[in-house]
Symmetry: C2
Subunit: 316 residues, 2 copies
Amino acid sequence: MIPTFDDVRAAAERIAPFVHRTPVMTSATLDRESGAQVFFKCENLQKVGAFKARGAVNTVLSLSDEEAAGGVITHSSGNHAAALAYAARIRGIPCTVVMPEDAPSVKVRAVRGYGAEIVFCKQAEREVVCEREREARRSILVHPFDDPRVVAGQGTAALEMFEDVEDLDVVIAPVGGGGLLSGLTLAAAAMRPGIRVIGAEPEAVDDAYRSMQTGVRQPRVPDPTTWADGLLTGLGEVAFEILTAGNTEVVTITEDALLAAALFHLQRMKLVVEPSGAAGLAALRSLGIEMNGRRVGVIISGGNTDFRWLEAALVI
Amino acid sequence: MIPTFDDVRAAAERIAPFVHRTPVMTSATLDRESGAQVFFKCENLQKVGAFKARGAVNTVLSLSDEEAAGGVITHSSGNHAAALAYAARIRGIPCTVVMPEDAPSVKVRAVRGYGAEIVFCKQAEREVVCEREREARRSILVHPFDDPRVVAGQGTAALEMFEDVEDLDVVIAPVGGGGLLSGLTLAAAAMRPGIRVIGAEPEAVDDAYRSMQTGVRQPRVPDPTTWADGLLTGLGEVAFEILTAGNTEVVTITEDALLAAALFHLQRMKLVVEPSGAAGLAALRSLGIEMNGRRVGVIISGGNTDFRWLEAALVI
């Protein structure tokens, strides 16, 4: 099922008490450099440090009491896991996260901090173990992106941006599974029809780019080398349908551009942005004079990082 | 001459077009941990990345045309130098910054980026060279803190905080030369009389603490070892008079507490804060249960850093 803008509006009302209306920030330096007026929607300042809180909270609050009784489960180990744990705590239901045994301790701590139970397993067995646990617990599997309730939830970030910034000409968001970008596409079509909507994707994981070029959804790139650890997944079916219907573009960016963008956020804007979250700024810069004179909204998707990229960024 | 709250109000009007009204941010995690309700005034998001823009702009805009004709000069190489260069550019007058030959290139770039001229010299000769250049250029020396116009300008950060956050019980700011803390003291006495005003100072540079304890202004600590490179200077005369009259307290904090606070801002709040700028949070934590149930305003003073402290912070 494909969500509509009405679903985004309903999600906004549903999740409002539990998520931040994140601020919009600007940079005079960047505006001078780019010739554009750029507005950053700061989802790195969102609950759990990423927009993922929106989709997870919307989904968990949308469950019937019967569905919710057995709790929720996921085998994502990134921001979605923390977001789902946060959402389950709000509703007061159990949350199980299946994680590989070698998951970074910072991620384990984050998920535990929100009160979720972690089931460790071998990396290759995550889906099997998740399915086994789901059955045993009668839990609901909440997909990180390929779910209409998740997409509608993520779209609320864009809804707020269009409410808070007038007359945008272009909007840009990172694209991995496509939850955020498709939510943005729904909001844009309803609130600012005709606006240019752009997904920002690292070259190393360019399945969304190739999906839009060929008109056929492409599988995820296996074993890519990229700093954008939040954008490794392939484009979801729900997202692909929405992006195709919405005429959304995808542009690819280099690793150097990604790191330079994350460093700009850090040094010039004093904002911690994970490399995946800086893809929007990297894309804006790669578009060069096309952005001249435009009012551009860019979604910063998250800020959870161990800073291992910083050393590499400082020597570019 | 000691400035009054009227001077702070006048400064606020004077500088408003040229500085940001910085946002106030909160952290649910910190509120749970501390038992307080904490409001951070984010001067790391200020023009030039620090509150210093306020005092410098107020001072430069307060100069008569005759005074301004020869430009301004300073031998500070930290945030004040960039702030003065920024202020001079606004007014369209020359700015000279005397810097040691081994000044970090990031600071040199920042000052040059705002169009100031740099005169390099040996570290020990900075004051002599500055005085020589000041005479030759007929420039006005703008002190980084011990000047009533600078203090009044810094006080505008506190004025905004009191306007934006109601019913504060305690306010905390880092103290080095005391410009920010004395400006805060003036605003607090006028806008929230009876409130507890606290300066946060690293143990390694505790001259302000000892000045308040003894009632006699103490000289700066020579050759201290601290990550708080913005708080090395001794308390100024203007600040000392205001703090004494205002019953302002100073608490000292350890280096570990300072780094842990900077890391909390970075990891949990996604904000880049220089170690000096995190002194307020460190002090809040060191006060423990005294802060329980209190509404506390904390000024984050700046965010200009090369992240060399991060490695040390991650192993505490």
